[in-house]
């Protein structure tokens, strides 16, 4: 990627502090105390709220009894990405948001931290929690070693399938490795979690791009079933003048660079404008600030309540000192050979659009310039229609759909972009569907 022009001026120690775990792990004592507070609900709402339906009370009670191995097994059986989810899930809208203690006007059980406590134990001790079954003679290809594909792989290998995962990148893990804010999940942690799945005897072929290095047809011919979990493609374009000026970056590329280099090697502007207000926008803004940007401004054309970002993320960006400019739309990126500013207009809510939301309408004579030396675009990604064409998959409403009986899809490419936990759930569901199909048809 083209790197920004300003080198971080913060000391290595300061950068380490800025990107350290945002939530300290629980001590053993704190975990026992927290676990003891869990009521052990019957048919617990937290379990229902989790897309992978981890039996939360069960794993928490196992922590309380000192059965950390059993606890980790409950978690990673239901969700092979259970460790990264413990670090990156928006739990306040999932399990912790559903905790019955909220209704007793108390803080919910710290489910994420307990889940991390148990899975930390499994990772630290390199526990082999699951056994691969004897090979049943059937082969499944998985395209994309992200959360969906790997979750699919774990179950299939446990059920006796020979699984080969094709990954275009150098490293597996997908966005877990390349795209989660550094202070939530580091690449080495994501890779350690992936290794537990590979250790079951899953074959991983990195640096292999399906469609370029191997054709989709070959996969269909060479395997009994194919799972597609290729994620999303390029970031949407702004379609405004100046978009291709040096100093304009895509959020995911910026984050990936940060996560694959020493902190000091990712350059950041002094004044950064982030366009968009989803969770990736927040990740980019906070990390730009933590790299040493003096001023980070998030520009969003709707109101605070309309932001796709979770409240937790919004609060985090505010705590990091990021400025929010709502009802502001970019019109032009300024600069000759590098970004010098961004020209915006103010907006106000107008008539509802097709999605039912009130469309932002420009306020006349509200043009103004925000001076900056770096622009980060975080407008969401689009589905990979190149891959869909190559694989003869259809795209409906921005989501990849398979109509072929031996091809299954899941994760961001199939859901339009969601959480790790959604991808894991879809990967597991696909594994179950593949298993059912191959058993039914005899492969």
């Amino acid at each position: 990627m083209p790197t920004p022009d300003v080198t971080p001026t913060l000391s290595t120690e300061q950068l380490e502090r800025n990107f350290a775990d945002i939530a300290a792990p629980l001590t053993s004592d704190a975990a026992l105390l927290e676990a003891a507070k869990c009521l052990f609900c019957y048919d617990a709402p937290c379990t229902h709220a989790c897309p992978t339906h981890i039996d939360v009370p069960a794993f928490i009670k196992k922590i309380e009894t000192g059965n950390l191995k059993g606890s980790a097994r409950v978690i990673l059986d239901a969700n092979p990405m259970g460790h990264s989810c413990a670090r990156a899930c928006p739990v306040e809208v999932l399990c912790e948001g559903a905790c019955v203690l909220n209704d007793r006007d108390e803080q919910p059980i710290k489910i994420a931290l307990l889940q991390r406590h148990a899975t930390d134990y499994a990772l630290e001790h390199k526990l082999a929690l699951f056994e691969p079954a004897e090979l049943n003679g059937k082969k499944v290809a998985i395209v994309g070693a992200g959360p969906a594909g790997l979750s699919c792989a774990q179950d299939l290998r446990r059920w006796g399938y020979a699984v080969t995962v094709f990954e275009a990148n150098d490293q597996p893990g997908g966005l877990n490795t390349y795209g989660i804010a550094e202070y939530k999940l580091r690449a080495e942690t994501a890779l350690a979690e992936v290794q537990m799945i590979l250790d079951l005897g899953v074959t991983l072929r990195t640096g292999v791009s399906v469609g370029r290095d191997v054709s989709f047809d070959e996969l269909e011919r060479g395997f009994d079933a194919v799972f597609v979990g290729v994620g999303l493609g390029a970031t949407r374009r702004l379609e405004i003048p100046g978009e291709d000026l040096p100093g304009v970056h895509e959020a995911l590329a910026f984050i990936e660079h940060l996560k694959t280099h020493r902190y000091a090697d990712t350059r950041v502007g002094r004044a950064v404008v982030v366009i968009g207000a989803g969770n990736t926008a927040i990740d980019a803004a906070t990390q730009a600030k933590r790299l040493g940007a003096e001023h980070v401004t998030i520009v969003y054309r709707r109101a605070a309540d309309d932001m796709p970002a979770y409240d937790y993320e919004y609060d985090l960006a505010k705590r990091d000192g990021c400025e929010f400019r709502f009802h502001t739309a970019p019109k032009r990126i300024l600069g000759v050979d590098h970004v010098t500013g961004i020209e915006c207009v103010r907006t106000e809510p107008g008539e509802p659009g097709a999605d039912g939301r009130r469309r932002p309408v420009e306020v006349p004579e509200s043009t103004h310039v925000i001076e900056c030396d770096m622009v980060i675009k975080a407008l969401g990604q689009v589905v990979r229609d190149d891959f869909a064409r190559a694989a003869s998959l259809t795209i409906e409403d921005g989501r990849m759909v398979s109509t072929k009986p031996t091809v299954f899809v899941g994760g961001d490419c199939a859901n339009g972009g969601a959480e790790i936990v959604n991808a894991a759930a879809e990967g597991k569901r696909a594994a179950a569907a593949i298993h059912a199909y191959l058993q039914e048809t005899g492969g």
Binding site: A36, K37, L39, C41, Y42, P45, H48, E64, D103, R104
Partner: protein, 440 residues
């Protein structure tokens, strides 16, 4: 303002809160600090021929967030020279003349040994004696402690020896490690005991280290049975105190011991007939300072209820302790759930369904699409036997209450009913799960 002063078998005490014989009453310094903190009396840690203790002496049982819910020890009586103990006891009594100083005694089961220890102890000016017939560990193997207290004849005999020379009141401390404590209580009274104290600790092994297979508390990989105490034993102690206090052949003051940690615990012991209460484990856990709320809480409770003296409340609950066959079979209860308070944990449902009487109906609100605030559980009143289990497991105070279901039938006890007298009011039917759908 409530008057907390007591006269217990002739021993005057500014309040009913005594430190039980144990580690907190081992030295002058401790007892003096306890009296300064507000304790009314102290039973000095058992003196006798000094022993040698082991290292690692206490074991603890934690329950959920609660540390030391149960506690045990394999510590023996004092390991300090008799002369040191006697000198310090005398000093305490001299410096705290208005506090109750009682000395726990344990010597060989020989008449001369008991005569000597009683005379030497009384020379200190102590207010009373407590005969330790209770410790279940270590000393019992040497023919002392509970080895005496488990045999009515031995108990009676030694009390008689003590009473031959004792001038001050003699309290006999009873062991709970017997089939029926009232037999031992009667034997002590027959021997001349002026009062009883109970319970001593319960024989126990507190746990096993699953790495080393050492029983706990471990002494170099081995352990021995020890005395169990702490909040976990309170219900056992309450029953034994009430059994002794109700016994028509006992009729001497009773000092209640066993798991007392709060003023509520103390008030319950007093209501069941205790004239004073003794505390050890709670002090070992939190220190002497707990006496402040013991006194304050008891006083406030007495003031709020118009009880002026402890004599007004001592034994007030005893007439309500009856035999099972004297309970009213026509007193019916049903559980009621306050749906506004329910947080939908469904613990009551699973408890009733699996562990009791299948009298709660579960409504899957998620499937019904009712949202989270719709009722998830409801009582099947015609199946509810009013057992209290749901109210016991409910984590929200006041959410599940037990309501009386009136009927037109006069009360009838089993004693009457078995004799052909009285009729039973219509009762809830026992429903089996199969007879109704969980979807309601």
């Amino acid at each position: 303002m409530a008057d907390l002063r007591v006269n217990f078998a002739g021993i005057e005490s500014p309040n009913p809160f005594w430190l039980a014989s144990g580690p907190p009453t081992n030295t002058y310094d401790q007892v003096a600090r306890a009296f300064d903190a507000g304790w009314g009396g102290a039973v000095w840690k058992t003196i006798g021929e000094p022993i040698i203790n082991v290292f690692s002496r206490y074991g603890s049982v934690d329950v959920g967030l609660t540390r030391m819910m149960g506690f045990n020890n394999i510590e023996l009586i004092t390991d300090r020279p008799l002369e040191d103990n006697l000198r310090e006891i005398a000093a305490v009594k001299r410096n705290y003349p208005d506090h109750a100083v009682i000395v726990s005694l344990m010597v060989d089961s020989k008449r001369e040994a008991w005569h000597e220890i009683v005379r030497r102890t009384e020379d200190t000016g102590a207010d009373g004696l407590e005969l330790n017939f209770g410790c279940p560990h270590g000393m019992s193997e040497r023919g002392m402690g509970s080895a005496v207290g488990q045999v009515p004849d031995y108990t009676c005999q030694i009390v008689e020896w003590v009473k031959e020379v004792a001038i001050t009141p003699v309290i006999v401390k009873l062991t709970p490690n017997v089939t029926d404590i009232t037999y031992i209580a009667r034997a002590a009274v027959k021997g001349g005991a002026d009062a009883l104290s109970l319970i001593n600790t319960i024989n126990s092994i507190v746990g096993v280290d699953l790495e080393t297979f050492a029983p706990l508390p471990a002494v170099g990989g081995k352990s021995s049975h020890g005395g169990y105490c702490g909040p976990a034993v309170k219900p056992i102690a309450l029953h034994m105190v009430s059994a002794v206090a109700r016994d028509p052949e006992v009729r001497v003051p009773v000092s209640g011991i066993g798991g007392i940690a709060t003023w509520r615990d103390a008030a319950e012991f007093i209501a069941l007939g205790a004239g004073t209460v003794q505390v050890c484990t709670a002090v070992m856990h939190y220190g002497f300072r707990i006496v402040e709320d013991l006194r304050d809480g008891l006083e406030n409770w007495m003031d709020d209820h118009g009880h002026r003296t402890l004599a007004d409340v001592c034994g007030r609950a005893l007439p309500n302790v009856v035999s099972w066959e004297d309970l009213d079979l026509n007193y019916h209860l049903v559980a009621r759930i306050d749906q506004d308070k329910c947080i939908q944990c469904e613990l009551c449902w699973v408890a009733c369904e699996d562990g009791a009487h299948q009298a709660i109906r579960r409504i899957d609100t998620r499937e019904a699409g009712n949202g989270k605030r719709a009722p998830a559980v409801e009582i099947i009143e015609e199946a509810c036997v009013g057992c209290n289990l749901c109210a016991a497991v409910c984590p929200v105070r006041g959410c599940i209450s037990m309501a009386q279901v009136p009927n037109d039938h006069p009360g009838v006890t089993w004693r009457d009913y078995a004799a052909g007298k009285g009729t039973l009011a219509p009762r809830s039917e026992h429903f089996h799960t199969a007879t109704w759908s969980p979807r309601g």
